[in-house]
Amino acid sequence: MRTISLFPLVFLLYLSPLFSQSLTIKGTVKNADGLVLPNATILVKNTAKGTTTDENGRYSVTVPGTDAVLEVRFVGYQTMEVPVNGRSIVDIQFQASAGYLDEVVVTAFGMDSRRNLTGAISSVGEEVFENVSVPVFQRALQGRLSGVVMTNASGGLDADAVIRIRGTGSISAGNQPLIIVDGIILSSNPGPESMGYGLNPFLTINPNDIASVEVLKDAAASVLYGARAANGVILITTKKGNFNQKPKVTLGYYAGFSEMSKRYEVLNGREYASLWNESVLNAGADSSLLYVNPVSQPSTDWQDLITRRGFVQETSAGVSGGTPSSSYYFGGSFRDENSYMRTVGMQRYSLRASIDQKVGEKFTIGFSVAPSKVVNNRTGNQYAGSPLGSATWFAPNVEAFDENGECRRDRIFTSNGGSWGTSNPCVTLEDQWIETNTLQALTNVYLNWSPAPGLHFKTDFGAEASQIREFGRHGEAHRFGSTDGTGWEQNQQVFNYNWTSMATWQSQWTANHSLEATLGVQLTKEAFDYSYVWFEGFTNDQVRYINSAAQVAYSEGVKTSAAFLGYFTKLTYAHRQKYLLTLSARHDGSSRFSPDRRYGFFPAVSAGWVLSEEDFFSIKHVDFLKLRSSFGLTGNAAIGDFAYAGLVDVSPEYGGRPGSILTSIDNYDLSWEKSRQFDVGLEFAFLNNRLRGSLDYYVRDTRDLLLDAPVPATNGVSVITQNVGAVRNQGFEFDLSFDVLQGDFSWIIQANGATLKNEVLQLADNDGDGKEDDIVFRGRMLYRPGESIGTFYLVKYAGVDPANGDALFYDLEGNRLSNQAPASNRQIDGKSLPGFTGGMTHNFGFKNWDLTAFFHFKTGHSIYLEDHQFYLENNMATGGNQLKSQLNAWTPENRDTKVPQARLETGNGNQPSTRYLHRADFLRLQNLMLGYSFRDLGRAGARLRVFGAAQNLLTFTKFPGPDPDTEFYAVNNAAVGTVRLNLPASRTFTLGLNLEF
């Protein structure tokens, strides 16, 4: 720590020559549309003095006299000369628009113009969220940003999403990007997952509050978060007001309905009873199990009984504006959604207030707060005993209702005497009651101090406080209801803060040379705790809470925290805004590593060359061309809080006495996982700026992986985290925007796409045989040098023996094995990571009409259907209901089939194999919207727009599961590519209106 205390001193030395001054003038630089331009160059003509504008487009410069002339430059604009004429405030506005490239982008350090960037950043604005009916912002981002791949954990309202930026770098540490809202690093730990997947942690963020989303993809772009940016950074900026802006009011409302987009096509009662009988005979089972008369069996469609037509409505209101010294934004919204699952719903109440205030000449302070409350009525998901799960395999040949028309709660028997218990799908849904309440407040305060021209200090404090309380209850008839009902309460609390302070010095040495230097320090603390109690014994199913339970059967709790401390510096040099060079470095420590291994060093360098500014550059129709490149290191520390320490857990108890048990072993060498990324990109604007975009190529090598290497469970632990191994991701990305037609009838196409080639470079050799050990997860996801992460590794299915209906598998020599193939015959077959992903938006306008269609796609990957293996296509191995595909099972009359003979409770082809692995390429019409605007209603600028929209309208795919865009396993996992009773996405239709004045 001693070296650190020198820091402020060094700082003062560094700055002291600047504290000399004379006559100062100030102002704001804007583009033709009235938007502020950061980083515009202001030179004082005939002197060596100059400056650049800050993120709000403001500048301040000293001039020798009242008759000085300012020279204002911004790439892509004609340089302007502006006489001061004795004014002390000189506001400047460029005339001709330069189009997309003076788009203002939020970087880690504040606003900047896309022109000046040397890092790789993709961004979208508020238009992708406006009026799009999604419960959480991630879903609106699917397919919108090149190289950003999102997959929903489920189609459920409250499900989390897998987000991967530029591939999957880590095998065992977290792979989710860092998500930052207005400078607050949000906790991305999923909420309670007592019944299926974890609650999406971002449900509290109202998508309609978002002004822009920037994705920082390379080391240069993510300096400010570099130590934890190995998986990329998603920077969310919410709406704000502007100084000197007239109040603007926006009101919006939409409502609509939703439905399950696809269902599991299972057998009806008669079909099931027939297949059952067949399977009894084929297995040589006891003939007492046969249905006497299969064709007269009753039939119940369980999926129909647990689903409904969902309903959604959302109301929002906002007002923004500003005076010369202050700006504000206030907004609020209410969303009420009932899912297509009968008992599932969500209500979100959210408010947001943001105020910026200038205090005197040198200070600006700002404050924003966003309180929200979300109530989720949930149900179990994605396991066999969940409502949808059981609706697929539960016997269809029984009656669902009693004589009163209520769900039956007695023990259900099929007519052959088979017992199905009391927890039929209807009971499973109705007698499980889960209410999850989330309260969250996001708060941010900052102070800017500009003691001298070109010198800025900024300190910024952001905090997230969240509390999730969940109440759960199972009735007596429910499978988890025990004898007298069970229940649980869960309380989870997050308090995170981060405090960043930095000093920036901008200097315009001469007309051609500008330099910007930043030094800063950043503190982050994350604290998490939760407690959980499970209780039993209720007098009846109406009483729900812990106080009415007879006893607490189980309880647990955790309290943990992590701290990060980082020092960073950044140096940017620009020559005539033509040659750009940025150097940055960070020194970061984390409490997640042992005291000796805490710190990591993360440097980056990047450069840009605006070719189109060169004198020699005169290619027709090329308006702008920039080449940029970067190279740097980023880190990842997304592991358990004390993964380095061998720990003994003191929660066990036996016979009423407290005990302890080994949970992990000492591992003091653990340190940062590092990503080394090279990026080269081209940004361009052609044809009078009608065709704009960028093209990138990157290679990201993640080294010193925080690898959870499986070790033999005979050691008492089954994995150990080690810094070993390397993974490479590389690919091309493009973002394009093309104004195909302009004028009355307009047509804009926006497209993005990314390729991905993922390769494991190196793994650990723990067993000491001199070879790197393969890692196989779940018996089928292979990690092996030379192969893509989580490559499928399965016994190859060889169809059915026409002679006897046995399933066949290939051994490694290509011979067919009957009925069962040992795991030693596994071979590589198919990737779990898509090789090409992207999206495309068509935007049509005709007078007051607008039409938007947005597609997204993923290709090149496969998904393993665990639900088909375990329950639905297993040839009656578990005796539960099957998919209609199983009607094609082998019989002496039907020998040419791929479906083996059905044999009750006898394996025939249901072992893990490529039989359950399917290509999952798809193209989805994600969003279609038609709107009509009434302009200048009553007063200039007022606008009313009515619209109709559809979400998830069409999916083109050959994938046999219900939804190719979901993932079963936890969102942080490297090994994606499994579907198991995932809820399919909902299809939503809405109508709404916006009013703006």
Partner: protein, 482 residues
Amino acid sequence: MKTAHPLLIVFFCCLLACNFLDDPEPTGSIPIGQAFRTADDIEAGLVGAYDAVQNGHLLGRNLIVFPDLMGGNADYTGSGWFGLPEIANLQISTTSWFVENLWRQAYLSISQVNQILASLPEVRRNDASVSPAEYDRMEGEAAFLRGAVYFELVRLFALPYEEQFLDSLGVPLVLEPVLSKEDLRFPSRATIGEVYQQVIQDLDLAIEKLQPASQRGRANRFTALAYRACVAFQQRDYDSVKQLTLELVENSPFKLTDTPGKFFMEKGTAEAIWVLLNEPGDGITGGGLSNMFYGSTVRPNLKSEGYEKIVTPEQLSRIEADGFRVVDLRVDTGFISNYPFVTPDTAFVRKYTDDSDTPVARLAEFMLMRAEALARTGDMESAVFLLNKIRGRSLRIVGANGFVVPEAEKDYVFFETTDDVLEAIIRERRVELAFEGNYFHDLMRLKSEDVQGKRYDDPKLRFPIPQREMDANPALVQNTGY
């Protein structure tokens, strides 16, 4: 510059947070190096080991359920436990969730015990707060748990105990603690003979170190003797069984409860030698034995070859000649039984409630074990005496008027031949101990030709080494047939 100073301090005062990174500390956990330093620590570690052994994947539930499913006493026809039918039908896959967790939980327990045994000598030297006898108890309990778990493992993952198989693959023997990355090992499978040797060594140590009395649910001298007898029984070493059960059966505080159901209805009966406690806070409530057996039906064979043949044809003819009939209190026949184990029509397993402790060893089992050992070594009279104590508790001879006729008991206590006695003991064992985790192991011991249609040494009667473990440890060799 004067105004600048205080402001700069505000800006960078976060620099003063020198020990910021040292602040987070684990709560609810203790660093491994500090966890086994005192006698109290060792005791806590033992409690943890019991908790691990009591886990549903181990002795708390599955090791009690599996042998009756695999042997063919019960069939799982319910819908709540996926993966259980394949165990009941002997179609076990290498990726079975149950097998993988059984393996993991067993070695977690062993690892915990290894740590206790390794720390004990030093703690014994340094901490005089407890008596040497207490330390002996701790050592005995730890050794007992390790022996018991290895015994359960070798019975399920390896071929049955037999001279010709002693050099066949058993399970890996891990006896040293693993505390850090450097301690990780990739053990290969020891032979069956080696595993049995280790089991006997551990159990003998436990017998030596443990006192006859203990807290409820904890191991004591009798518990260790009981397990040691089970090992000898599995080895078909009937002379040793006779010796080991002498103290357990003839010279111990244990007593049969007066009805067969009482042991299962009430906690803390004198019949219990070792139960794993099922109490609030233990975390297996609801997911315990009753839950898993809830969806299990009694296979017809247990009725036709078990309950319905508890008396021999000769005995039955004597009874019927007197105009009486037999009632078995263990079966619900609408008679006086207040706690039948099975129902006659739907034949559901009803032995346990949500609150039941898990029975691992109870007196009746060892009386029958002793009876069999006596019969096999020629002492028929003592064998029949023990057998009839068990039968007498459950069998009632009922007259035409529906009342019990106590004096008619004589009709079923005599056997015609010595083969009849042995057969009756074995059948009684199957019925009395049904759903308590014995039947499969008995079939192995008896070298049955018909374990659900398979010979006792059929490869499909062994659990596979979990695929996860095979993938993680190249030193392992998979069982034949997988």
